[in-house]
Symmetry: C2
Subunit: 252 residues, 2 copies
C-alpha cells in the first residue's frame, strides 16, 4: 500500500535532486503544490515533513519552503574531557550561559541523594546553530559540593556544560564516574517552543549523572538536542575486553 504523502515526497525529492527546484530557491506554496498534486494540504505537508527530516527542505513561517542541502550534524561526545575543550572552537554552535539557584525538588532529590529543599545551582546553556536553536542544556550542581561560588563562568569551553566540570575540578571535586542515559523521543510542548520546532520533531534527550570519589552525585545534567541535527559519538577501546568467549574455553 503506497501512501499518498510518500508518493508526493518521492516525486518532490526527485525534482529537487534533479535540480528542478534549485538549492536555496523557494518551492511553490503549499496551496499551489496541493492543488498540483490533487492532494489535501495536510497530505502535502506530510510529504514536506519527510523531505525536511531528510534535510532537503527548510521551512520559514510566513515565507515558504526552501531547498537546502543536508548539513553534517553537530557532534556530541559523551563525557568530553577538559583536554578536548577546544571543542568550542571547532563547534559550529554559539553558546549562551546563565545560572540561578533553585530548590532540588523531589526528582533531583532522588537522583542526587539530597533533601528536596536543598539548594542547587542550575546552569542553562542555549546553543544556536547560526540563528537556529540547536539544543538546551541544564546543569545541576548541589551548592554544597564546592565552597567557592560556582556561579561565575568566564568563558565557554564547550556547549555541553564542560565549564561546570572545570569549576568543580578547580574546587577540588574529583569526578570518578559519569553515566549518560540517552533516549530518542518527540519534543515536549515546552521544548518545541524553546527550540523553535514542532512537537512532531524528534529530539535526543540525555541525562548525565556524575559521581565523585565518595559516591556523591555532584552533577546532574539534562540535554535536549535536535535529533536530526545531532550525532552522538561513542568511541570505546575494545582492547581491554576479556577476550574470552563465555562458557567455551577451547571448543575449537
Amino acid at each position: 500500500m503506497a501512501l499518498r504523502h510518500q508518493e508526493i515526497a518521492d516525486d518532490l525529492r526527485r525534482k529537487i535532486t534533479a535540480g528542478e527546484y534549485a538549492l536555496g530557491k523557494r518551492l511553490p506554496s503549499e496551496a499551489a503544490l496541493s492543488e498540483a498534486y490533487e492532494a489535501g494540504r495536510p497530505t502535502l505537508r506530510d510529504a514536506l515533513d519527510v523531505l525536511r527530516a531528510e534535510g532537503l527542505l527548510a521551512k520559514r513561517h510566513g515565507s515558504g519552503n526552501y531547498v537546502t542541502r543536508p548539513q553534517p550534524p553537530v557532534r556530541y561526545f559523551p563525557t568530553a574531557y577538559p583536554g578536548e575543550s577546544d571543542a568550542v572552537a571547532r563547534s559550529p554552535l554559539r553558546t549562551s550561559v546563565s545560572a540561578m539557584s533553585v530548590r532540588a525538588g523531589h526528582e533531583f532529590a532522588l537522583l542526587m541523594g539530597v533533601s528536596p529543599n536543598a539548594w542547587l545551582v542550575k546552569y542553562t546553556y542555549a546553543n544556536h546553530e547560526g540563528v537556529t536553536p540547536h539544543s538546551l542544556v541544564h546543569v545541576h550542581v548541589p551548592q554544597t559540593v564546592a565552597e567557592r561560588d560556582l556561579r561565575e563562568i568566564r568563558m565557554v569551553h564547550s556547549p555541553w556544560g564542560e565549564d561546570v566540570r572545570n569549576l568543580l575540578a578547580k574546587a577540588g571535586v574529583r569526578l570518578t564516574v559519569t553515566e549518560e542515559r540517552l533516549t530518542a523521543r518527540l519534543a515536549t510542548a515546552e521544548e518545541a517552543q524553546l527550540l523553535q520546532i514542532t512537537t512532531r520533531t524528534p529530539v535526543m534527550a540525555i541525562e548525565r549523572v556524575a559521581t565523585d570519589a565518595k559516591g556523591r552525585v555532584v552533577e546532574v545534567t539534562r540535554l535536549v538536542l535536535r535529533g536530526e541535527r545531532t550525532a552522538v559519538v561513542v568511541t570505546m577501546p575494545t582492547a581491554n575486553r576479556g577476550g574470552e568467549v563465555p562458557g567455551e574455553g577451547s571448543t575449537d
Copy 2:
C-alpha cells in the same frame, strides 16, 4: 497560545491518572471522543499521539485505544563485552537471527575500505518485546576477515549482534576500537513497516563500526531501535582524565 490537541491531551491524561479510564481498559472510540471534545478527529488523534509517546496509551488497529502504564525502557549498552553476555537472559527481548551473503555496495565499500563487489555476510537480528517489534539490527562482516564460516550462530547471547563478535574472536580477529554514532530521527517508511510503527515515531539509529589491530574495519552494524522504548546507557570512568583545567595552570 494553547494548542487544542495539547489541551485535550492534558485532559485525557488527567482522567487516566485519576483512574477515570482504568488501566487496560479501552478508551471511547476516536469518533466519540472527537465529538465529546468538539474537535476534529485529526486533532483528537494528535492528542492521543502525545499520550502514546508518554507510554500511557497503546493503539490497536481495528480494536481501540487502550490505557497502559509506562514500561521501563530496554537498555542498550554501547559495545557490550562478551563477559556481560548473559545480557540475553536479562533482556526482555526475544531475538531471531538470520544470515545471508550480500555485495558490499558503494556505501559499505566506503565505510569498510573494500571493493563495492566484495562479499559481506549480513546478519539480521529482529528483536521483539512480547509480540511488539522493538528493534532491527544488521551486522555486516567482510567474508574475508575470518576463514571459518561465520554464518552459523548457535545461540543468541545478546540482541545487539554480540554473537558475531564472539565468532570473530574465535576466528582470531581482535577488535581494537569500536565507534558508535547515534542519532534520533523519525522512522523511514520501510522501518515503520517492519517495526509496526508509523513514520511519525522517533527511533534511535545507531551505526557501529569496529576496527581490528591492523586498522581494518571488520564489522559495520546498523541498529534501529524504537526511541521511546529504548535507553542507551553510556558509563565512562572519569578518573583517567587529565585533571587539568586547560590554559590555566594555577590561576587561583
